[in-house]
Amino acid sequence: MPRTLISIDNACKTYDTPEGGKVNALKDINLNINYNEFVTLLGPSGCGKTTLLKTISGFESLDSGDIKIEGKSIINTPSYKRPVNTVFQNYALFPHMSVKKNITYGLDINKSLDKAEKDKKFNYVLNLINLEGFENRMPHQLSGGQQQRVALARAIINEPKILLLDEPLSALDKKLRSNMQIELKNIQNQSGISFIFVTHDQEEALSMSDRIIVMENGSVSQEGKPEEIYYQPKNKFTADFIGETNLINGLVEEENGLIKFKNENFEFHLTKDFQQYINKKVTFSIRPEQFFTNDVPKESNPYISNFNVEVIQRLFFGPNIKIVCKIKNQIFHCLLKISDQETIKLFEKNKKISIYFDVTKIKLFE
């Protein structure tokens, strides 16, 4: 049973907009985060994820609600006394201090450590971030990725209970970003610190997190393991925000004891599991990669359904090919695996093809 490190209870926060209105940045948020957990707050900009992070670090106060670390409320503790450290989006390295001074900044405040202990800790984190030999450089003499790692080292050297990371990788280029993702994950494993990671990059969230908290308009839309969030989205927002999804509006009807999804462009049969949606307007969601083209005999799997579509566009990605196709006015995106050059020819523009999908794997949202 994982132990709770930090619990956020009924957190509310409103902002005044410059126009005189009010924005609910946080609406009654309840969250628990465990020891040694990598949690990601994921959402579009303005969803409240950064506000939530700031209330934990102490740069914003809550209007109501409570934040407890190991059972003790911290909302009246000033930020410099909280057992929390932050890695800022733009790193916020002190420009007038060397790498070493930057990293040991937190240790220097705490006078209880002697020099030998300080050096030991410093060498440990320097090794962890792989920047030996750089300790006397100034921040502006470092590359973006190196600055990022110094910012990380500066935070973890204080051995906080929780490390908050506010979109720390957003300023890095793609290749560096994926390297840093792996490094961050390693550092989290080695240090045993709980990470709360804020991002709007869903791929980053999926690949790194133990748990993802999807936020929308100041409330939690869904939380769970990355694979749960991806394959079992609870609502339209999550389905749409995480990964790519075809979202199609329509109606569920019962006809001669069979359940059907129907709109003006097409219809197909649903299984009994979708009974609850009968006579309701719904949105049906299917991921592009859930389509396939192999001819599967209908008899072998009664839940396979198919669409006859016309190809509008195809985009070749190497291992995959993305096909934009339509039935009447309805456009679909499909991502198909391919392994040889011949297969690509099957998806020429304007060709009529059949695409298949497993009805049990689709999602309906009201």
Binding site: P78, Y80, T86, F88, H96, Y105, I109, N110, N158
Partner: protein, 284 residues
Amino acid sequence: MSKFYQNMKKLFNFLKNKFLPFHVIIFFMFIYIPLLVVIFLSFNSNVINMMIWDGFTFDWYKSIFGFNTQLDEDAVYLESTDQLLNALKNSIIISTTTTIISTFIGTCLALAMVRYKFRFKAFYNALVYLPMIIPDIVLGISLLIYFVTVGVKLSIYSIIIGHCTFLCSYVFIVVSSRLAGMNDELEKASNDLGGNEIYTFRKITFPLIFPGIMGGALLSFIISMDDLVITYFIAGVDSTTLPVFIYGIMRRGIKPEINAIASLMIIFSLIVAALGIYYRSKKL
């Protein structure tokens, strides 16, 4: 038509290539020749008419520093060296005190205005800029009326108070632009790492805005040193400053040592200004 156009273009290019460097030279000559003339004449040994060259001498410089020289005794002008030195002394006392006070107040103001949110901030901001925009003569007269009404005796102290009223604004502008250019996340980061407000100010904010503070201080020193209009109104009998003194004896005719004093002030100002530019240009 196109031929005409081409000719025009040629002419323009010709002017650009030949005349532009010329223009730059003329521009700088226009500004610096008067200053060079003063420096040149400060070495003139003519005791009767300082405008006519009569040989090279260091005597005027010597006489400023209190040495007796032959030229000094021969000079037909009114004896003014003591008054002049007294005015210089007053000016230095006033500038130094004013710089310390206005740098402190201006920096505090800048910190409050840039780092904190409060009601009527825009209004206060405008109030701080106002002393710089108001014409000196208006500021001088109003300060005089104020001092007389309140009953402050005109002296060195009234000049110090008067100078501080507008020099705080200059310091404020220099320091606040430096502060605004500084990422406030740095202060948050220090806070986050365990530094309280005082520690953060000492270790982060102050070192980073120090060049701005220095720049503001040097600027206010120079402005205070050569302010004439405002000082003219609020200077008491014994508290004449150097610019006011020079202005006062202009018509009476002054000893050529004024050139030496002016030359020294030019060099001093250049050093201070260069220092100021150096500090302001230091990168964050």
